[in-house]
Point group: C2
Chain length 238, copies 2
C-alpha cells in the first residue's frame, strides 16, 4: 500500500476522513505513524495529496487531507482479457490497475472453464477490491472500468467497436505474424486469450473486428507474465 486511498463514504467533514480497518492497520503496524505524522493519500477518482494523522483512538484513525497533484496519467490501453481462473484473475486485476490500465473487459472464450463464471471472485465488490489494491500499489486514484462479457460472440459483434474505440487493436498469437510493435504513441486495445489460446474461430472473429495478430517471442508465457510483458513492450508507461 503506497497510498491511503480515501473513499467518499469515509468522509467525516470537509477536511477529515476516517480510515477503514485495513488502512488503520497499515498505518499502525506497517508505517508505525503517530498523531501529527504526514502520509501519502489520495481521493478515489480525485487528486493525490498529503494526509496527516489527526487522531488515533483505539482502532479509529482520522486523517486530514490536502490535495496537491493530479493522479498519474492513464495508460492508453484497453484490455480485452479472456476470463482467467479465479486465483489468476485476482493477480491480473491488481497488475492491470497498477500498470495504469483504465478499461478492462473480461470475456468468455471456448477454452475458458465455464465454472470460472460462477466463482465468488466475480462479485462486483471483490473485483473492485482487487482494482483498488492495484491503485494503492501504483499511487493512483482512478478506478478502472471493468466490464464482464460472458458471451464472446455478442460482445465482439455488438459491443466491441464502441468499447475499444479508434486506436489499433492487437492480438498476441504464436505463429508466422509480424513482431509486436513497441512504444505506440496512440491509445490501443490488447486482447489476451485464455490458457490454451483462442480458437481459430475466435481469432478470426477478432481479426474481422480490427485486431491484428502479432507474435511476441517464441516462448509460451503464463497470462500473468504475458500481461505486464506485453504492456511494457507496446506502450511507453506514463
Amino acid at each position: 500500500m503506497n497510498l491511503l486511498l480515501l473513499h467518499p463514504d469515509q468522509r467525516l467533514d470537509e477536511h477529515r476522513w476516517r480510515l477503514d480497518p485495513r488502512q488503520a492497520g497499515h498505518v499502525r503496524t506497517v508505517l508505525g505513524l503517530t498523531e501529527g505524522a504526514p502520509c501519502r493519500a489520495g481521493l478515489l477518482n480525485g487528486p493525490l495529496g498529503e494526509g496527516r494523522i489527526e487522531s488515533i483512538d483505539n482502532n479509529e484513525i482520522v486523517l486530514s487531507f490536502k490535495a496537491i497533484s493530479h493522479p498519474p496519467p492513464p495508460l492508453g490501453l484497453n484490455l480485452l482479457l479472456a476470463l482467467p481462473r479465479p486465483k489468476m484473475l485476482k493477480r491480473l486485476l491488481i497488475d492491470a490497475a497498477s500498470l495504469g490500465i483504465k478499461r478492462i473487459v473480461l470475456v468468455n472464450a471456448w477454452k475458458v472453464d465455464k465454472s470460472y463464471w460462477r466463482t465468488p471472485t466475480l462479485k462486483a465488490d471483490l473485483l473492485r477490491e482487487k482494482l483498488l489494491l492495484g491503485l494503492e500499489q501504483a499511487g493512483d486514484t482512478v478506478l478502472p472500468e471493468l466490464l464482464l462479457a460472458p458471451r464472446f460472440r455478442p460482445f465482439v459483434e455488438d459491443d466491441l467497436d464502441a468499447w475499444a474505440g479508434a486506436g489499433p487493436r492487437f492480438l498476441a498469437q504464436p505463429g508466422d505474424h509480424p513482431a509486436l510493435p513497441h512504444e505506440l504513441d496512440e491509445p490501443a486495445t490488447l486482447a489476451i486469450g485464455p490458457e490454451g489460446g483462442w480458437t481459430p474461430f475466435e481469432v478470426e472473429m477478432l481479426q474481422e473486428h480490427g485486431f491484428r495478430a502479432h507474435r511476441f517471442g517464441t516462448r509460451i508465457l503464463r497470462v500473468e507474465t504475458a500481461l505486464p510483458a506485453l504492456v511494457g513492450a507496446l506502450m511507453r508507461l506514463p
Copy 2:
C-alpha cells in the same frame, strides 16, 4: 507444463526415459495420454523434440524421445535482482526462466530483510525446481545460471564486471532520469531493487559500475509486475 523436460538421471537407454512422478501425473491426469501417444518433450540443456509414450505401468511411464530442433534462443539479458521475499522469489524465478533469461544473480541490499537469506527457499534444489518450472512453461530446455551474492559491495566491486559482461547496464529508478530505452539490439544487464528501492549509496555504487538510471513510468510496480514489464520494454523477445 508445456514440455516434458527430461533429465540425465531419467535416462534408461539410448532412446528411452522414465518420467518422474510429477511428469507421470501430468501425462495421466492433465494430458490424458495413452501408450503410443506423442507429446512435446526436450532434453535438459539439449534439443527439443517429440516424445512418445512407450509404456504405462501403474505409476511408471516410459517415454521415447526424438530430437527435432534447437531450444529457443536465449534472451540476451542478465538479471541482477535484490533478493525478494521467499514467496515472491519463487514466482520471479519461474517468470525469469520463462522469459528466457539465462543469467541471474540474487544480491543483498540494505532494504532486503536479512531473514530472507536464511529461508529454505534458497536451497539449491528448490531454486533449480522453480527455474525448471519456468522452462517447462516456456518450452525451453536451457537451465539459467543462478548466483547468490549475500554481500552487495564485494559482489559489485569484485565480481559484477565479469558477471555482467560488455553490454549496457540499466537501473529502473523513480526520478528525473531519461526514459528506459526500448528494443535493444544487444545483450544487456538489468538491475531490479528490493521493495522500497535501492539506497542512494547502492544506486551510486551501481552507477560507478556502469549502470545508467532510467525512469519507467511514474507508477510504483510490485517487483513481480515490474520484471516482465521491464523485460518486455527493453528487449525484443526472441
